[in-house]
Symmetry: C2
Subunit: 431 residues, 2 copies
Amino acid sequence: MAEIVRLADIARYEGREVTVRGWLYNKTDKGRLQFLLVRDGTGLIQAVAFQREIKPEAFEAALRVTQESSIVVTGLVRRDARAPGGYELGLTDIQIVQLAEDYPITPKEHGIEFLMDRRHLWLRSTKEWATMRLRATVIRAIRDWLDSNGFLLVDTPILTPSSCEGTTTLFETEYFGEKAYLSQSGQLYNEATIMAFGRTYCFGPTFRAEKSKTRRHLIEFWMVEPEMAYADLDECMAVEEQLVSYIVGRALEERAEELKILERDTAPLERVQPPFPRLQYDDALALLAEKGEPLPWGEDFGAPHETIIGASHDRPVFVHRYPARCKAFYMEPDPQNPELSLSVDLIAPEGYGEIIGGGQRISDLALLERRLAEYNLPRQAFEWYLDLRRYGSVPHSGFGLGVERTVAWIAGLQHIRQAIPFPRTLGRLYP
Amino acid sequence: MAEIVRLADIARYEGREVTVRGWLYNKTDKGRLQFLLVRDGTGLIQAVAFQREIKPEAFEAALRVTQESSIVVTGLVRRDARAPGGYELGLTDIQIVQLAEDYPITPKEHGIEFLMDRRHLWLRSTKEWATMRLRATVIRAIRDWLDSNGFLLVDTPILTPSSCEGTTTLFETEYFGEKAYLSQSGQLYNEATIMAFGRTYCFGPTFRAEKSKTRRHLIEFWMVEPEMAYADLDECMAVEEQLVSYIVGRALEERAEELKILERDTAPLERVQPPFPRLQYDDALALLAEKGEPLPWGEDFGAPHETIIGASHDRPVFVHRYPARCKAFYMEPDPQNPELSLSVDLIAPEGYGEIIGGGQRISDLALLERRLAEYNLPRQAFEWYLDLRRYGSVPHSGFGLGVERTVAWIAGLQHIRQAIPFPRTLGRLYP
């Protein structure tokens, strides 16, 4: 064995003998030349076993090794412009750690359910690998931006005694004799923590027991929710467009190779720069009517409407001031027109739909009490939330950004289920 | 209004008039001089209203304002060595945003249940504030270290069809007609993702429906779980001690002020440097016997044993090679003595107990199949996990670090419940 290196760092080792520990991704048999495509989790390299230059046991191992067997290979790092990644390994030794038999995912086409049943293996395939690396960068970029812009991470609970977005889509569990529900949003808790820390965010898994089987829905998904004390709707939009532009910029900068593997046209992503267009709800309705998809005033948009609005702009677009009745109980009414709420959604371009929902929250105690009653929400469970309006209430705003929708958009995925390592969808809880 | 600034940045504004948006933390009435202690979430400042220098409405507001009212204050930033934080604000204006009445948490002593019922407000108190800021730094440090050392964040699911650590402490929910359980660990999924990415980690909430009411247990807690392909027990320990030393170093560097608020003696933290002592389980038993707390061979340690082991060392201490029967089914046996497992716990000093559990996992298919049978685990649910030994199995190791135990230790807390914003304990699901 020579020095053990990661393929991500291979360029540093040109002309040296190194050892790589990984798996066989693919093999091409040219008789006395065996071309092994080796992956180690950080990259891929072509390793060449030439019968004349390698000891017989090692060449025999090269002949015998199968797809996805674990192998430790040693060889000389050579520059080779034709090789994927620009380098190849002239093998001097191969050790098989474990010989895999009949790996089920072959280069031929497989159906989506077949692949999803084998998600624990499918993640090894280059496109899934590239998507998950992009996902990690998206998450890292979100945290970096928030941490550098005065937001403090304050985790909110998953097990909660009450619901935020309505009780029909809640997962319920028994909590030592009480009923508990899986959180659909950390927002209400964020509204408490901003009064202690100024600007906060929570970032965790979120659960919606929705019976929708669309390409934009997951049962379990990750969401980041920033919240700001002393901030109005305009500031909320300003933060959103800065954050989203930063995420896309980091993805382009750090995951160029992965975006190439995903065959993503990056031109539309390069255009994601602030300011984003701002449409009032009424303007969006006019746009929909013009595009032949009219909607009655007061209705919320569905996927087809979002697609039209998104496709009419070359970057993400804000739609703000929705009718109060199509948004949640805690939305601050527009002082200009109390039928409208100071709410805002951010719609991604290229048909990816809503990636952010947010707005300004009610700060007045009496109004919030009325809203709880109007929405038939159990007052008792919201007493602590009402306290936030009793003791030092301030104008405040915030939003939730869906990680998988953002990843699906940046990666250019057809379906959100490939934007998360182990998707939970209607009918899928395995593996 | 002057330029709006954050108290965290106040030193930059010496000699200038600024506006601070925050809350009244405390007030001292000296007649014509009103001393307002103002907090804005990023820090505290003493703001002085001098009747002669301020317009009457503003002075009247200073007289009238109550604890935790939201206020916007404008004044001149003056250096003052006697003031907390080193600066004070000579007020020129005060606006009350919302006048709080009868804020329930007063400077007098309150019982823990009283405070926990008001956790949404209690977080505003300086010690809780300092703890949560320290917590955010601990989490940030963990991610920074892992992201810079070749680990990829790959999220694992919360809703799972089977259990990892035994079914008696699982929360159950209905998943569209199937039974689902809240994850107790992402480890099994990490073992899949390392085969795709080399080194990975998951970092999320974890649930254990344990009926323990100790100062070290939470029902819902956060855990980071790094996992490494091609890594043995020794490498696992090396990574753990580097990570833990880095976390403590960052906390000391970035949260000196918070540690002071918490009255934490930092001398024991300064000593947290690698290498950490490594004790075999047998050595630990000998130590316990010597300290008058003998334990029969084969038993796992309880809190009193961990306290003794931790107190006998000046930095965190590894205990490795526990008897196989006191650890989980997936632990690799010690090739020197198959009665032992290649497991390791890291025990914090100063009585804080186990903060990490980990070790090397079984890589052999036949052995893992036997273990599943011995532990009476449902083979069907583990088929995908067995696949990891069929297709490119490698020696691999990993561990789980409990965030709240780590925060409690670094902060010097008496009880883990104050290390998380909204604790879930036996009998507490509110707020």
